[in-house]
């Protein structure tokens, strides 16, 4: 009888040990700017990633192992970004979700390349990382495509002939590409760039000068390449300055801060987005409800794409991929079921996905066409 007791104790100990091993979590890194005045992108991305991880863990993890999301803040600072990525690598993560802006991705991707670890960005659009066979992958289209689309719409549908472009130079990685692609396409379609106004977010912003320059340039349309808060402030000032020209923006401007900060000034702002807040597919509805329940607000696009990025990585790990084989697995997979449609990765890990023309009507983002 004693022997029987001992045997069951040993068995229990063994199970406990196995349990310990099993509960050793798989780590996935997240890097984004989660503090400071540009944090809306990084915070939403983090929350989307967190929701994905929590959902996966609730449904049994990956091959019996839980996932742990290791979050690092790049503070939207090119000097901090490589350190944050290095710190994640030192934490033995299998993949890194991030960065959330192009400038940070340009700073952080080389580190991931050196370490041979996949960096899957939910929202980076810079062309500078396009067409490269490296460890940097993304599920967000490069700016060229979207910028061209927006430029042609502005020129052909809004009939803008002279465009004033306002650029935030603090995220040049993003904005420069956008600017070039947009102006090329716009010029190509017979338009003229009447004004380029650069400022640095949080540092130099002279809105009255902008209003004056825009008027002087006889621009008949405005393209703002800035974060939501800056965009809102710019719009407020343009309206205040009596300028009632059509305004187009990039998706960067369209986080949750835009409407509260912009108020009536952002009514009618046009942009292309790869995300539709009113999407009615069950997958998205389920996600949106879970997100609201967890974070007390509706999801914005960085949250959606971040959630997708974690999900795609988790699916690959379920298929047996590890840190070394993850890139090959993702590229082999080629198409991914996103929350609102299919995402396609080419052999360089650059994404294609549907874009929707959106506008703000009565303080709400709505789909046009």
């Amino acid at each position: 009888m004693t022997r029987k007791v001992l045997r069951s104790l040993a068995l229990a100990a063994l199970l406990a040990m196995t349990g310990c091993r099993e509960s050793e979590p798989l780590r996935i890194g997240y890097v984004g700017g989660i503090t400071g005045h540009l944090a809306d992108l990084g915070v939403a991305g983090r929350d989307g990633a967190l929701l994905a991880v929590e959902t996966i863990n609730r449904t049994g993890g990956i091959r019996g192992r839980k996932i742990e999301l290791v979050v690092r803040d790049d503070r939207n600072d090119p000097a901090t970004a490589p350190k944050a990525v290095n710190d994640l690598i030192a934490n033995n993560v299998v993949a890194i979700i991030g960065h959330m802006t192009s400038a940070m991705s340009l700073a952080g991707a080389p580190v991931a390349n050196d370490a041979g670890i996949v960096m899957l960005s939910p929202t980076t659009s810079t062309n500078e990382l396009s067409g490269k066979d490296d460890m940097f992958l993304r599920i967000y289209p490069a700016s060229r495509e979207t910028a061209t689309r927006l430029a042609l719409y502005t020129r052909n549908d809004l009939h803008v002939g002279r465009i004033a472009i306002v650029i935030d130079a603090s995220n040049r990685g993003h904005t420069l590409g956008w600017y070039r692609n947009f102006s090329d396409a716009f010029g190509g379609a017979g338009g003229t760039v009447a004004l380029v106004h650069e400022f640095e977010s949080g540092k130099t912003m002279d809105l009255s000068r902008l209003v004056a320059e825009t008027t002087a340039a006889r621009a008949d349309g405005i393209f703002i390449l800035a974060g939501a808060v800056d965009t809102a402030l710019i719009c407020q000032n343009l309206r205040k300055g009596g300028i009632r020209l059509p305004i187009v923006v990039s998706e960067w401007s369209t986080t949750d801060e835009l409407v509260p900060q912009g108020g009536k000034a952002v009514e009618g702002v046009m942009f292309y987005q790869h995300f539709d807040r009113a999407n009615a597919t069950p997958a998205y509805q389920t996600f949106r409800d879970a997100y609201e329940e967890r974070f007390g607000r509706p999801p914005s696009f960085p949250a959606v794409f971040s959630y997708e990025a974690v999900t795609f990585v988790a699916d690959a790990l379920r298929r047996g991929a590890d840190r070394k084989t993850l890139k090959a697995d993702l590229l082999r997979q080629h198409t991914f079921p996103g929350l609102q449609g299919t995402v396609t990765l080419d052999r360089f890990g650059d994404a294609t996905r549907d874009a929707f023309l959106m506008t703000v009507t009565d303080g709400v983002f709505v789909k046009r066409k």
Partner: protein, 880 residues
């Protein structure tokens, strides 16, 4: 079943259990009660902290509100003008609550802005439309102050709250920096474990000791639980990441925030752990004390019990001294008294028993003495019996007992073996008259015993079970006549069969010796006489050559004389007087060679088998004479097997029995034993006795000389060996020749030694067969001889007459065309009587052999002639 539980252990265990159970139950009750009390305590504690935090926070918000009211008053007092901007700036600079302050008109347009120059440019905000914001709409709609949800300021990156109050011309809006609330959160529980924090409506953390969480806009987990438990005095309990947290939450009505105070369960109940440890210590301490006490008590009970047990054991062992009481208890004293009484009774009874036992012991001793004496007598009897029995059993002579009328009653093993019976049972009950084959022999013995009472060494012949005769000496006495026993004879039979046989052999040897001496003497004289006769006859031949009648008579005379000479030669051989040339000789090659010519002496229906040992057997012998012996024996065997059979010749080395050697006067040691056996008719005993006698023959008159085996006997004797014969009628005869082995290395076969030395001279080879002739020429050339050849007698005579001077030796084939060997020989002799001649013949007819041999010096070789034999003969003839 033997119990295995000790009273001592049972008592100890009982005590411990009795102490532990109530203590354990008490501990459990206390623990449960205290746990409940502790939980309530913790909840109450946390709740009071939460209220304190809330109070501070409300006050923290109240002051900015008071300031807004103050600004409202100012704004209402100075409805227009730039002075309001200056008032706003100074308020922001002087108080740290606000990040920015705005005075908005009823349309929602910003009219006045107060801000830190580092953050904003006033000009960017004045005229801005904020009519869409809650912070404008709510106060306008309700006429009451409003707190916005907290948010991260896009300008400072810090948690911010927008506070707005209505006034008659619009709304006054201020953004309050909330980060300082985190300092409050850090300080409020600084002295205690646990965390106090504030979360907004959406779950975002507004104030937290870890400011990072605030700056990173972290969301509190378990939001629904926190909301549901708000104000609940029991608080909440929530599991996260494997750790359970306990706490309370409190709603702040003005802001719709939640103040949360929580801590990990293990920290909250840290003192419970201490308490449980204490309880465990008390319980185990109590158990130890109980155990020690139980040992003490059990010693008081168990030790006296053990002492009484020991006393009982002593009584059992015969110690009947009074048992002293052990321990303090009355029961033990009574038990000791009882044991003492029992011991006394036992003591009395034991004394009686001892007396009774003494008597019994004495009787027993007497009986034992008688038994011992009886056993001793038996033993003596047994050893006596054994002595005589062993005398009887081990005697080499036969010891027997038989009845007076000759029925065997008992015989010892020597008797059973002598008579050749398998067992005593098979032998007893035989009658002596049946065992003695000679009629009347037993009756005479019986007669003598009856008369004298005994017989001594009486020669008696018995018949063995196998039919053999056993020669014995019998000594016997008549048994003492006992009334109940029939008269009996007891006696000893001594086997003298072997002795008798040896005696006979000795006698035979002596006889042969004397016959040999006699024959030798006679033969010698006879030879001389025959020389005279033959010489005289030869002389007469010359003088009466012209009288054919006399010549015929002379030839008869000469023939008879030559036969007589042959006989004489045989006799000389028998008497060992003939010249002998012994050399060290290996018998094996000799016998192997001899087999060839032996085969030609017997008809084809007789098979000769020769078995030779693998080792050389060297003897000192004359090979010619040994061959003679073999020839004589084969002739004998041939005559014994007229219808065919087998002759076996086996040669083995062996040692000989000393007794046998003595009888034969032979030396002891190692011998080569040649067994020569046939499976012919066999020889009767009578014949065997005389078989080696000269002139003794069983053959028809004229067929044999009766000297063949005598020669064999003589030759073997001359070689210091001996020959024996045994035979069983119908089974065959075995002649056994013993020749003493010597140490010396054998000479090579008698011809081999000379074979390889080159010779010289010229030889005339006469041979009609060209193949044989050529072979001969080649052979002779090889050994250095020159050769002349001739194919027949005529040619041979011609060659010889022409080259006689060169020729040293002539080799003649006996049977040749035109002139036979004998005729050529005669021709040669006419002119060259000294010329050495060798005859070679395929198969010599007996008459030719007889004719040739005595005729002079010519040597006779029988084909096939080995080269060795031929060369040896040549060498001998040439005197090399």
């Amino acid at each position: 079943m033997r119990p295995s539980l000790h009273l001592r252990h049972a008592l100890s265990a009982g005590f411990v259990v009795v102490v532990l159970i109530p203590l354990g139950i008490l501990g459990l009750i206390i623990s449960l009660y205290l746990a409940k009390v502790a939980q309530d305590d913790v909840a109450r504690d946390n709740m009071s902290v939460a209220r304190q935090f809330e109070t501070i926070t409300v006050r923290h918000l109240q002051e900015p509100m008071n300031m807004l009211r103050h600004i409202r008053d100012m704004a209402e007092a100075f409805p227009t003008g730039d002075s309001l901007d200056l008032i706003l700036d100074s308020e922001i600079r002087n108080y740290t609550y606000y990040e920015s302050l705005m005075v908005v008109d009823t349309a929602g347009t910003v009219r006045h802005v107060g801000t830190l120059p580092a953050l904003h440019r006033r000009i960017d905000y004045i005229g801005m439309d904020v009519s869409g914001r809650d912070s404008f709409r709510i106060p306008r709609a309700t006429g009451r102050p409003s707190w916005s949800p907290s948010f991260i300021s896009p300008f400072t990156g810090r948690p911010t709250l927008t506070l707005s109050i209505p006034y008659k011309s619009g709304v006054i809006i201020g953004n309050i920096d909330l980060l300082s609330l985190s300092d409050v959160a850090a300080s409020i529980r600084a002295s205690d474990a646990g965390t106090a924090y504030i979360i907004g409506r959406d779950g975002r953390i507004i104030a937290h000791p870890q400011k990072d969480l605030v700056l990173q806009q972290a969301t509190a987990t378990g939001l629904d639980i926190l909301r549901k438990s708000a104000g609940n005095p029991g608080g909440f309990s929530l599991e996260e990441g494997g750790r359970r947290r306990l706490g309370v939450s409190l709603e702040m009505p003005e802001t719709d925030w939640l103040v949360v105070v929580e801590q990990p369960e293990e920290e909250a109940f840290a003192f419970m752990r201490t308490l449980k440890g204490l309880m465990a210590a008390i319980v185990s301490g109590a158990a130890v004390i109980a155990f020690i006490f139980s040992r003490f008590v059990s010693r008081r009970v168990v030790d006296p019990l053990l002492a009484l047990t020991e006393a009982t054991r002593k009584i059992g062992e015969g110690d009947f001294s009074p048992v002293s009481s052990a321990g303090r208890y009355v029961e033990f004293a009574e038990m000791a008294g009882g044991l003492t009484t029992m011991a006394q009774a036992l003591s009395r009874r034991e004394a009686e028993l001892a007396e009774r036992n003494g008597e019994l012991l004495r009787t027993e001793e007497e009986l034992r003495q008688q038994v011992r004496e009886y056993e001793q007598a038996q033993e003596e009897l047994r050893s006596s019996e054994e002595r005589y029995r062993s005398l009887f059993e081990s005697s080499r002579d036969v010891v027997f007992i038989c009845t007076e009328d000759g029925r065997l009653v008992d015989v010892n093993p020597a008797g059973i073996s002598l008579f050749g019976y398998p067992s005593l049972e098979a032998l007893v009950d035989h009658r002596m008259t049946d065992l003695t084959p000679r009629p009347g022999e037993w009756d005479r013995l019986h007669q003598e015993i009856s008369e004298n009472g005994y017989v001594q060494d009486r020669p008696t012949t018995f018949l063995g079970a196998g039919g053999q005769l056993i020669h014995t000496l019998v000594t016997a006495t008549a048994g003492a006549a006992e009334p109940e026993r029939p008269a009996a004879y007891r006696g000893i039979i001594r086997d003298i069969t072997e002795t008798k046989k040896l005696e006979q052999q000795l006698l035979h040897a002596q006889k042969m010796e004397s016959i040999g001496t006699l024959a030798g003497g006679v033969a010698h004289d006879f030879n001389n006489i025959l020389m005279v006769i033959i010489s005289a006859a030869a002389m007469m031949e010359k003088s009466v050559a012209d009288d054919p009648l006399v010549m015929r008579q002379l030839a008869m005379l000469k023939g008879a004389a030559e036969r007589a000479a042959a006989l004489t030669k045989s006799l000389l051989a028998f008497s060992r007087k003939q010249p002998m040339n012994p050399v060290p000789l290996d018998l094996c090659p000799l016998l192997a060679e001899a087999t060839g010519f032996l085969r030609r002496l017997v008809p084809e229906n007789i098979v000769i088998e020769v078995t030779l040992p693998p080792v050389p057997l060297t003897v000192h012998a004359d090979p010619i004479q040994i061959e003679q012996v073999l020839m004589n024996l084969i002739a004998n065997a041939r005559d014994a097997m007229p219808s065919g059979g087998a002759v076996r010749i086996t040669v083995t080395p062996g040692k000989l029995d000393r007794r046998f050697l003595h009888a034969e006067h032979a030396g002891s040691g190692d011998y080569a034993i040649i067994e020569f056996s046939d499976n012919g008719a066999g020889i009767s005993e009578k014949v065997i006795e005389r078989i080696f006698d000269p002139f003794f023959t069983t053959k028809e008159v004229g067929k044999g000389t009766g000297l063949g085996l005598s020669m064999a006997y003589g030759i073997v004797k001359q070689h210091h060996g001996f020959i024996d014969v045994s035979s069983r009628p119908g089974k065959g005869t075995v002649f056994t020749i013993y020749l003493p082995l010597i140490e010396a290395a054998p000479l090579p076969a008698h011809v081999a030694a000379a074979a390889h030395a080159p010779g010289s001279g010229t030889i005339l080879l006469v041979e009609d067969d060209p193949a044989v002739r050529e072979m001969g020429v080649a052979l002779l050339a090889e050994f250095g001889y020159d050769t002349l050849t001739a194919a027949d007698g005529i040619e041979a005579a011609a060659v010889f007459s022409e080259k006689a001077g060169e020729i040293n030796l002539v080799i003649l084939d006996v049977i040749m065309p035109r002139k036979n060997g004998r005729q050529v020989y005669d021709l040669i002799r006419e002119t060259h009587p000294d010329m050495p001649v060798l005859f070679i013949t395929g198969y010599a007819p007996e008459n030719l052999a007889v004719e040739l041999r005595p005729s002079g010096e010519a040597k006779f070789l029988v084909k096939p002639v080995t080269p060795d034999a031929l060369l040896a003969a040549i060498r001998q003839e040439l005197g090399a």
